[in-house]
């Protein structure tokens, strides 16, 4: 019967194992920084022969249950601002719909290559700006031994001083009332990015940290609520059109639920700047990865001189493996930080017991 369902591939043991492992590593990173992992899954599925739209749809369908489990886990640790997550989730959903439509229009006007160039350019611009900022902030905190997780800048002070009657909402994560209108562009851009590069958290988490002053730990946990809302909406949209391969989604989910627990537990042991550090490292590595394919798409569109097919294949391959490396490096940092944090905790418990 599978032959009649032309969009859906037959699964073999290698494909299943590969997706399970990528799901596990991606889940670990998501549990820790609130997002990530999804950017590798879509190309990984496409490499297996899954059509692009089915890969995006199935990725989305594993994302919302994973985010739900992660959010529930981190809510137990008191790290989730559910109200902020749901409010931003609504505008993020609008961003997803607009972003998906925009993508569709670009595909119709400039073809598949134009769409790929747009996605890669969005990666490069967003990750270069936000990734550099997050990384600088993390390094500053690391070098200064600063354990304060809360950012302070003019934008945060302005956002908190703004008083628009009828729109003020109390957010527990920042312990003050802020106009929910401020969260609309934040959520919208998160959704827009999610529809474009599959990882809205690269805008969602930094915007919560640097616009509202939400602690990094809580921002990354709250992002899971936004991811749940966006993922559920996106899944319904794709499933309505019949593009979700539930088998692929559940295989990835199988691995990612093992990983997300590890990532979530890790947040209780590490120093607060580690969230920013992991996020910054992943963002900058993905930026490098995308940088390799931008010339390929520009050459295909005639914006650069024609490239040899072998060169194009090489650049695409390098880009994919740098992206996989970004995920692995992120996961290794999470595991190392978790193990170091647990060892330190056990040492302190032993010392306290000895006193």
């Amino acid at each position: 019967m599978l032959e009649t369902l032309s969009n859906f591939i037959a699964l073999d043991i290698w494909g299943v194992t590969g997706l399970f492992l990528v799901g596990f590593v991606g889940g670990m990173v998501s549990g820790f920084i609130g997002s990530g992992g999804a950017f590798v899954l879509t190309p990984a599925m496409m490499t297996m022969g899954v059509p692009g739209i089915v890969a995006v749809a199935s990725n989305m369908c594993h994302k919302f249950p994973k985010a739900l489990v992660g959010a529930m886990k981190r809510a137990k640790y008191g790290q989730v601002d559910v109200k902020l997550g749901l409010i931003m989730g609504c505008s993020a959903e609008a961003g997803v719909l607009v972003g998906a439509d925009f993508q569709q229009k670009i595909r119709e006007s400039f073809g598949e290559v134009g769409s790929n160039l747009y996605v890669s350019a969005a990666f490069v611009v967003v990750l270069a700006i936000v990734g550099t900022y997050v990384m600088r902030d993390a390094l500053k905190a690391y070098r200064g031994g600063d354990h304060n997780d809360v950012a302070d800048n003019a934008l945060i002070r302005w956002a908190r001083s703004l008083n628009i009657p009828g729109t003020m909402v109390y957010f527990p994560s920042i312990k003050c009332r802020v106009s929910f209108l401020i969260t609309i562009p934040m959520g919208f851009c998160t959704g827009l990015l999610a529809a474009t590069i599959a990882v809205g958290g690269f805008i969602g988490v930094p915007s919560m940290m640097y616009v509202l002053g939400v602690p990094g730990l809580m921002a990354s946990a709250t992002e899971l609520v936004i991811a749940f809302v966006m993922g559920l909406g996106g899944t319904i949209k794709f499933a309505w059109a019949g593009f979700v391969d539930i088998r692929l989604a559940m295989i990835i989910l199988a691995g990612s639920l093992f990983g997300i627990q590890v990532g979530a537990i890790g947040t209780t042991y590490v120093k607060p700047y580690m969230i920013k550090m992991v996020m910054g490292v992943i963002m900058l590595m993905v930026l490098v990865s995308r940088g390799f394919v931008v010339p390929v798409y520009m050459s295909q569109l005639g914006m650069l001189p024609a490239m040899e097919p072998a060169t194009m294949a090489l650049l695409k391959s390098i880009s994919f493996w740098v992206m996989v490396a970004a995920l692995v490096v992120g996961a290794v940092i999470v595991v190392r930080a978790l193990l170091a944090g647990m060892a330190e905790h056990n040492r302190q418990v032993a010392l306290a017991a000895g006193e």
């Binding site: 019967m1 599978l2 369902l5 969009n7 859906f8 369908c61 594993h62 919302f64 249950p65 994973k66 739900l68 489990v69 529930m72 886990k73 137990k76 640790y77 559920l232 899944t235 319904i236 499933a239 309505w240 059109a241 019949g242 593009f243 979700v244 391969d245 539930i246 088998r247 989604a249 559940m250 989910l253 199988a254 639920l257 093992f258 997300i260 627990q261 590890v262 979530a264 537990i265 209780t268 042991y269 944090g341 647990m342 905790h345």
Partner: protein, 94 residues
């Protein structure tokens, strides 16, 4: 009297520690039961993959099937993975 009070306080503290420890301990039977449930769920999904796939990709209101499957698997498998890591000693810092 003081000894009694001290003794009572210590006993209460020990009992509280014990309760906390019990609350933190995962019942192996529950882990096995959840593991078996997850195994059966995945087994059923792949045993009847053609049927499940054809229903879930029919589109329109059939979107309910993949969404319901995702919720069911996430609750069962999410609870299982949480308890499994806990049983293996990977616990959050209190």
């Amino acid at each position: 009297m003081t000894d009694h009070v001290t003794s009572f306080t210590e006993t209460s503290a020990l009992a509280a520690d014990d309760t906390a420890a019990k609350g933190d301990t995962t019942n192996p039977v529950v882990v096995y039961a959840l593991g078996l449930t997850v195994f059966l769920l995945y087994g059923a999904l792949f045993q009847w993959q053609d049927e499940v796939l054809s229903i879930s990709v029919a589109g329109r209101w059939n979107f309910i099937y993949p969404v319901a499957i995702a919720f069911t698997f996430s609750f069962a498998h999410g609870a299982f993975t949480g308890m499994l890591w806990n049983a293996l000693g990977l616990k959050a810092k209190k």
